[in-house]
């Protein structure tokens, strides 16, 4: 370039090639899996984008989740909770073991699965024995357990909810709710 180039630069011309670059689309070759948002009973359709093309040597990980435009309920849209679903799966704070918070305690402590189940069984038995109502005030047989309530979570499947209803009804639990509308 030399002197001519220097003069051109001073005049405001730039002799370097002008180019801009946009980011690549991060989901261009990810595997798309259709699913249902687990949060509320609206049950929006979602597309889960995972790393790789399902080849044998690849461990897929969720890189992006967005609404399913073909789903008749949400037609691609999602609420703020649904929009954050990627963090529901890929999250260092995800709970992977049972924990217990004792009465009056201010913190959670780890507990073994076996002792957790034993403890729950013992408490259910005690509560049911203490609060079971065999007959109401008018002497009619009701056989209900009023000391226990069951609240189902949004991620529970139909099969799980079926088992919950069967087992809770067998205990006489009346206060029974789930999100089986999904």
């Amino acid at each position: 370039m030399g002197a001519g180039g220097a003069v051109a630069c001073v005049l405001g011309f730039d002799l370097k090639p002008a180019y801009a670059q946009a980011r690549d689309l991060k989901i261009s070759r990810t595997t798309e899996t259709r699913s249902t948002c687990p949060y509320c009973s609206v049950s929006c359709g979602i597309i889960i984008h995972t790393l790789g093309d399902k080849a044998k040597n690849v461990t897929p990980q969720v890189v992006h989740v967005e609404g399913d435009p073909d789903h008749p309920i949400n037609r691609g849209t999602l609420c703020p909770k649904g929009s954050s679903l990627q963090q529901d799966i890929d999250n260092p704070r995800r709970l992977l073991k049972p924990q217990v918070r004792r009465p009056g305690s201010d913190h959670w402590e780890d507990i073994e699965w076996d002792s957790a189940i034993d403890e729950i069984a013992r408490r259910v038995k005690k509560t049911r024995d203490d609060t079971f109502v065999e007959k109401d005030a008018q002497g009619r047989t009701v056989n209900r357990c009023e000391g226990i309530a069951w609240n189902g979570g949004c991620t529970d499947t139909n099969e799980f909810n079926y088992l919950v209803v069967k087992s809770m009804r067998s205990l006489g639990v009346c206060y029974l709710e789930n999100q089986a509308r999904v």
Binding site: G12, F13, A18, Q21, S28, L78, G82
Partner: protein, 289 residues
């Protein structure tokens, strides 16, 4: 360059970018109907998720707003504004605050770094962080207070209008998420028509008789347009300027003064050369001999 984004203007360049305007490209726009926004913040979350922006600390300022203003890693913020109308009734005015993608971008005019800010023919104004020198002149140039500085990397950041998605024919992440349908995406022409229809509908069938479309001419129009309940009072929506303009200091500095400076510099060089040719090198006379 991935996708089909064609460059219209580049920072640090005089005149049009090489090859710009040779091929037609439709301008795109976001339409934000503030009258149907419920402040759910799905667009905020979708923006963070798509752009892989990490969680950041939020600040509570006695409103429902996530934080007082956008941040270098939080490009999209719903502004919650409590508003009392003339008749004494209370209203929530919710406005999605992000880069407006001006047709005449002040940030690009102010930027001295070659290629750090690029305007594409479809109207998107994007920051290229690898060319950014962190001078923050774009903050001075922006009438909407949008560019944000990351002190750790000394680079500027803002909404990209999802260039990666739009260049591949997808809509921006915020638009896709919006569950109330208050956000729309399409060509500028279609969005303007839709906005006008909606504003007319508001004027005729609701109490918002002064509803209108916010597409400020002072910055050449924007690729993000609003339908407002009251077009006469955009300031009520968390500091939306009524008549945004690129600051005159930026215009002067990057316009006439830049050329005057160049002329003065070249003139000086020519003067020095002529002086040398006419009078020759300077002779140093030794005193006392």
């Amino acid at each position: 360059m991935p996708g089909n984004l064609r460059v219209q203007a580049i920072s640090g360049h005089s005149g049009a970018a090489p090859g710009s305007g040779a091929q037609r490209q439709e301008r795109v726009a976001k339409l934000i109907d503030t009258t149907t926004c419920i402040g759910c913040k799905a667009c905020e979350v979708a923006c963070l998720e798509w752009n892989d922006l990490p969680f950041r600390e939020t600040a509570f300022d006695n409103t429902y707003q996530t934080m007082p203003q956008t941040a270098w890693n939080y490009w999209n913020l719903i502004k919650f504004n409590e508003h009392t109308a003339a008749d004494g009734s209370f209203h929530w005015l919710m406005r999605k605050d992000q880069c407006m993608h001006c047709a005449d971008p002040g940030c690009l005019a102010a930027c001295p770094a070659d290629n750090a800010i690029v305007q594409y023919q479809n109207g998107i104004v994007d920051f290229q962080q690898e060319y950014c020198i962190g001078c923050q002149y774009c903050v001075t140039g922006c009438p909407f207070n949008i560019p944000r500085f990351n002190p750790a990397t000394k680079k500027m950041f803002k909404c990209t209008l999802c260039t990666d998605r739009v260049s591949q024919g997808l809509e921006p992440a915020c638009i896709k998420a919006c569950p109330t349908g208050c956000l729309h995406f399409g060509t500028k022409e279609d969005m303007t028509a839709l906005a006008q229809t909606r504003a007319q509908q508001l004027r005729q069938h609701t109490a918002h008789t002064n509803a209108g479309v916010y597409d400020p001419a002072g910055v050449g129009g924007t690729s993000v347009i609003y339908v407002l309940h009251d077009i006469a009072n955009p300031e009520a929506y968390g500091g939306l300027p009524a008549n945004p303009r690129v600051p005159w200091a930026v215009r002067l500095w990057k316009g006439p003064l830049k050329w005057l400076g160049n002329v003065a510099m070249i003139g000086g060089l020519i003067g020095v050369t002529l002086h040398y040719l006419r009078f020759g090198p300077k002779k140093v006379e030794e005193h006392g001999k």
